[in-house]
Symmetry: C2
Subunit: 144 residues, 2 copies
C-alpha cells in the first residue's frame, strides 16, 4: 500500500502556491501592495460594485479578513466605496484612477510571470486544466 499517496495532489498545489506567492511578493513589494490587496484590486476592476461580503466569499476568506484589505485600500485611496442605493448597510467598492494606475504597473509583470510558469502547458490543454481547478473550487465551497 502506498502510504505516500494522500499527500500528493493537495501537497503539490500547496507547494506550487507557495512558490507563486513568493514571486508575487517580489513583484508587488516595490509597489507597496500585498498579494490580497493586488488581487482585490484586480477583481474590483473587472467587477465594480462588489461589497466586502461579496469579495470575501469570492476569495475564500472571512469577511473580517477582507475588511482589513479593503479598509487599507480605501485608506490609500486605491478604491472608494459608496452606499448601496437600496440596502443602506452595504458598501459597494470600486477602483479609483490611482488604483487603476497601480494595477497598470503590476499587471504586465504578473502576466509575464504567469506566462513563464505556464510555458510547458500546451494552449489546448489550458482551459481543461483551469476547468479542473474550478471543479475543485466548487467541491471546496460545498464543504463550507
Amino acid at each position: 500500500m502506498d502510504r505516500s499517496r494522500p499527500v500528493r495532489f493537495l501537497y503539490l498545489i500547496g507547494l506550487v502556491d507557495r512558490g507563486i506567492q513568493r514571486q508575487l511578493r517580489r513583484i508587488l513589494a516595490p509597489l507597496e501592495l500585498s498579494i490580497p490587496e493586488y488581487t482585490t484590486l484586480a477583481v474590483l476592476e473587472v467587477e465594480p460594485g462588489l461589497s466586502n461580503a461579496d469579495l470575501a466569499r469570492r476569495s475564500m476568506v472571512r469577511p473580517q479578513s477582507m475588511n482589513e484589505v479593503i479598509a487599507r485600500l480605501e485608506e490609500r485611496a486605491l478604491v472608494e466605496r459608496s452606499q448601496h442605493p437600496a440596502h443602506g448597510r452595504i458598501l459597494m467598492a470600486e477602483v479609483t484612477d490611482a488604483g487603476r494606475a497601480l494595477l497598470g504597473q503590476a499587471m504586465p509583470r504578473i502576466a509575464d510571470l504567469e506566462a513563464a510558469l505556464l510555458v510547458d502547458i500546451p494552449d489546448a490543454e489550458r482551459p481543461k486544466t483551469r476547468g479542473y481547478l474550478l471543479d475543485i473550487m466548487r467541491r471546496l465551497r460545498e464543504l463550507e
Copy 2:
C-alpha cells in the same frame, strides 16, 4: 483587451490552495498538528534521513522556516534526528513510532478529502494534470 486575464491561473491556484488549507486545518486541529508539521512528517516517512536543508528545498521554504517545524516535531518526539556519518553538522531526521501513529490518524481523513475534491477529474486525466503542476514547480525553481 481582457485586462482580467493576468489574474486568472495564478489567482485560481491561490484560491484553491486557500480552501484546501482551511479544510486541512480543520482535520489536523484535533491532532494538534499544523499543516507544515503534517506534510513534513509525511515526507519524512517516505524518505527517512533527510536533513533540515533538504526538507526546506523540497518544500519551497527557507531553512529557517523548516527549522522551526522540525524542532517542534523533535520536541514532541514525533521525529528524531541523528548525525550524518560523514558530515558532522548535518542532522538526518526520521519519523518515530509516535509520529507514525499520528500520521496514521491523519492520513485517511486527508485521503478522503483529496478524493472528494478530485472527484470531477477523470482518472485518466490525473497524471497529466499532476504533470502540469510539476512543470510549474520546475519553472518556479528556475526563478530562485
